[in-house]
Symmetry: C2
């Protein structure tokens, strides 16, 4: 089905300095791509002539069209553990709660957790997520079925290599033939993976022609431990192991120095900034402004729902701006438009889709969202971009289109029986706890 | 009209250690008060017999009833300036944007700004707000008309004493005879008010038998300036002037030392914590956990929409928890239930309404909200209280009752034509900018 969005505001995220950041237009989507952005009404008729059979028309009045949000770091199936363990110190949190729970979950649990998390992401305007977990093959299955775009990263720690070695080819197989899905390899972190296993991950990336996704420089403890064991910062250590010769997303990058930053830039590593997780777990503050100023690409992620506890990119963007202004003692740091770029343009770059995703442009893939801007918190309209970044909410997302398919319409997710999903989740979690 | 809320979950915010924090019950509201919390079904029939004429019945299935949120520090009419000036350094922000705009606004502008802000607050579950601004009489009028509960604080700086001396009695008159409205005096801050004028404020409080509301210890610059001018910290300075002999809400309390904290405790001053404003303006981090541990009452405020930019207490609660965990380097700091208490129980205490507001108890005033908990981000239900604090959103607020009157039903504000309000705001703001 093709789509005509009539007379909406468009925030393409492509404005150069001095150009209007948004404008009014009618937008045509056909065969999965944005085909027309008609600002003066001169091209809509011919678009409809060309693509008109089976055209869905959406009234864009009172709505703003923008690129779908790209969540560059999460563990979507951890919805299973949302609210299971909060307000605890790190080690009891992991040892007594998260790890024992995770030890009990199986492939089908992960599929169900992914189903709930993907629904939450779509409803809040996230059209692409970069995932890392066990049984990633199950996440691939659900992503494929639900229509969201995903980068799936089977994860390993030293104690789970065998499972990983099965999960990676299975995930690749699930993703095969679906343009929305790509795969990466995820060494969990420098402190949980041996040098040999990290090198094995690098080897597999080269073999399959895929990239890397890892946690890196998240906590001070990690930094100190890696320095002690390997005499290097976590970033230098991973660089030395050849990880950064592959396209890499490094989640967190909180504890980084100038040399680390230079490596990230020179090797084209993208950082995934997770401000709410970093705050909730007392990890620290990533120097995002310094990373950006030094040419490092930084996207925004929610992390998993054990450490956030939702998958809401709007609040994550806001926390990103607020936290950096505080940490840098500078209210000018990370202005609104820059943060919106982080969650769209930079996200696309992080997954190697620059220009294809994260923008509303003719020829780009039709991953777009319509925001209902007729809300109290969007008035007055001194600056709609500032309103969007500082006041926009998950519930303002009216329509979500991925790959030219409407997945959310009028704030409702299409074709998903949410009450049944909630009931299944409650039943499943009770079962897991009994295992 | 009386109200019966059948079979909802109730989070009364009164649980002692070891007690269930929430339970299922049917709740009866009559003549503005909570009259019945029926946990076993034995009392509903007699409640209906007694109060049944003109009873509105609400199905509480899938909903959670809790106290309305209390926003202990805002400038509601600053919605006029939402998005007008963001991402700027403090002095250009004030000198070039906020103050010139404020110099142009009149009483009717303030009324319109308050109308929009109150709609936003009600829709997001705030039932009481503590305001501070010019033309507070206009805010009193709109608060009275819309049905929200408010503490109205006519504000003064040295250059506006004349206007303040008119605004205070006018505000008192507007509030007279309306139980929902009380009045306080607001010296803007120690750096913007002379000693003589602060003492004049104290005198007026004693004359009218009302309390104080002020900004205090917000920025490092303020602290240094007050120390230089008066040889005292802002808190000690205000204490010495007799401010704290009156019931006082001190907004911010970021730059406080142990002696300051002891004074706040000993004098029963309530702190209003505004984490998002403090972050966005790079003000610093209030030591909330230390204040609470030392016996200071701390509530939560949004501050005005020039520095936040919304009036959303859910995000404010979350930022409060996240920020403190980061600042204290302790993920155990400010657990979910404590933060919910700050926004309810502590808020009520801050305005001298402990036990009357901020709780769901028989006999308490019926300022309550119903949350739609059938949302993706509220599943699974390992811990509903954690889900509420870490995932609850403004848009989850289904019903808002203030003083026993339903002001929001099914997520819609009752009796307010929002499109007309938006249009009026756009027209008004354009006019102000032309003045």
């Amino acid at each position: 089905m093709n789509i005509l969005i009539e007379n909406c505001l468009v925030l393409p995220m492509t404005a150069g300095a001095g150009e209007a950041q948004y404008f009014r237009a009618t937008v045509g989507i056909a065969e999965g791509r944005i085909r027309m952005i008609d600002r003066d009404g001169s091209r809509t008729e011919s678009f409809c002539r060309q693509w008109g059979a089976d055209m869905q028309v959406i009234d864009g009045q009172g709505k703003l069209l923008m690129p779908g949000l790209i969540n560059v770091h999460t563990h979507v199936a951890m919805t299973l553990m949302r609210g299971f363990a909060d307000d605890l110190p790190l080690m009891p949190w992991l040892n007594d709660k998260i790890w024992p729970f995770e030890a009990k979950i199986d492939r089908d649990d992960v599929a169900l957790g992914a189903r709930l998390g993907i629904a939450e992401m779509l409803l809040s305007g996230t059209t692409t997520f970069v995932d890392m977990y066990w049984y990633e093959e199950a996440v691939a299955e659900i992503a494929r079925e639900t229509g969201i775009r995903a980068v799936l990263s089977p994860c390993f720690v030293d104690s789970r290599m065998e499972a990983f070695e099965k999960d990676l080819p299975a995930t690749l197989e699930r993703a095969a033939g679906c343009d929305r899905l790509t795969v990466r390899v995820a060494p969990h972190a420098p402190y949980s993976c041996s040098k040999e296993n990290i090198l094995r991950g690098v080897e597999l990336c080269h073999r399959y022609g895929i990239g890397m996704h890892t946690h890196l420089a998240e906590t001070q403890a990690e930094m100190e431990q890696v320095r002690k064991l390997h005499g290097l910062s976590p970033i230098r250590y991973f660089d030395q192991l050849g990880v950064f010769d592959l396209p890499t997303i490094a989640a967190h990058c909180v504890w980084v120095d100038d040399d680390d930053i230079a490596i990230l830039r020179d090797k084209g590593v993208s950082a995934a900034h997770n401000p709410q997780s970093n705050m909730k777990l007392s990890s620290g503050v990533s120097p995002v402004e310094r990373l950006l100023q030094n040419g490092v690409n930084v996207g925004i992620g929610t992390d998993g729902t054990s450490s956030n506890n939702d998958l809401d990119m709007w609040e994550e963007m806001r926390s990103c701006a607020f936290l950096q202004k505080l940490a840098d003692n500078d209210p000018c740091t990370l202005p609104a438009y820059e943060v919106l770029k982080m969650a769209t343009v930079n996200g696309a770059k992080a997954i190697g889709m620059e220009g294809e995703l994260g923008v509303v442009e003719e020829g780009a893939i039709a991953d777009v969202i319509l925001i209902d801007i007729e809300k109290t918190h969007f008035y007055p309209r001194h600056n709609l971009v500032a309103n969007l970044l500082y006041c926009g909410k998950a519930a303002d997302v009216d329509t979500v289109i991925v790959d030219g398919r409407i997945l959310v319409a009028g704030g409702k997710i299409v074709g998903v029986d949410l009450p049944a999903l909630y009931a299944a989740m409650e039943k499943r979690v009770a079962e897991i706890l009994r295992r």
